[in-house]
Amino acid sequence: MKTQARVRVTEAQINTLIAKGKARAKQPHAIAVRFDSKRDRYEIEMSTGGAFAVPLRALKALPASASRAALAKVRVMPTGSSLWWDTLDTGYHVADLEVIALGPSAAARSLGRIGGAVTTAQKAKAARENGKRGGRPKGTAKA
């Protein structure tokens, strides 16, 4: 039997999402994509001025039987967080493509470094509290 789904939403929820959406649009995102048919790879240009490339063979969601014309018909979706192939009716998120390009372990290291470098009020407070207890344990020198 067909489900008659309910719509669950409030005006406040919509307004919050709209405000967050505008802020999110300022984050780094893709601004262009090009299929390099000679090298069989996609080149993605970012709003930061940087760019990266992903080999076609790594994109398993694209059918192996796809024509070169269909593979080349790719576009950046609004806000630049995803790519979409209209003819093939499939897509990839740019964040996932970055992981494919860098490799999962390199991507995780980068994210870890970025996360660790973030300074927040909570982290500063925790550091002060830890300092009252004597701070980090002193290392014992070994000859």
Binding site: K2, T3, Q4, A5, R6, V7, R8, V9, E11, Q13, I14, N15, L17, I18, K20, G21, K22, R24, A25, A61, M77, P78, T79, S81, S82, W84, L88, D89, T90, G91, Y92, H93, D96
Partner: protein
């Protein structure tokens, strides 16, 4: 494959995407992400600019293709 049409809206489902079940609806300057669970549709995220009336229209369009989106999601996550 990844797109389900409903009342003039195209709901896009990405392969190997993260839970919860969701679809992306494109607008001129933004994307609305709609969640599908427990027989309900709800807005999860907006990226860029989407007008409030468009959010509501897209949600009602999504509600009538609930089953189709769930079926497509299963197919796309294999």
């Amino acid at each position: 494959m990844g797109t389900i049409q409903s009342r003039g809206f195209a709901l896009k489902i990405f392969p190997k995407d993260h839970e919860p079940v969701h679809a992306h609806v494109e607008f001129d300057k933004g994307v609305l992400i709609i969640g599908f669970s427990d027989d309900e549709v709800t807005p999860l995220e907006i990226r860029g600019t989407v007008r409030a009336p468009d959010v509501k229209k897209a949600l009602f369009a999504a509600a009538v293709v609930y089953d189709a989106v769930l079926a497509e999601w299963k197919k796309m996550q294999r």
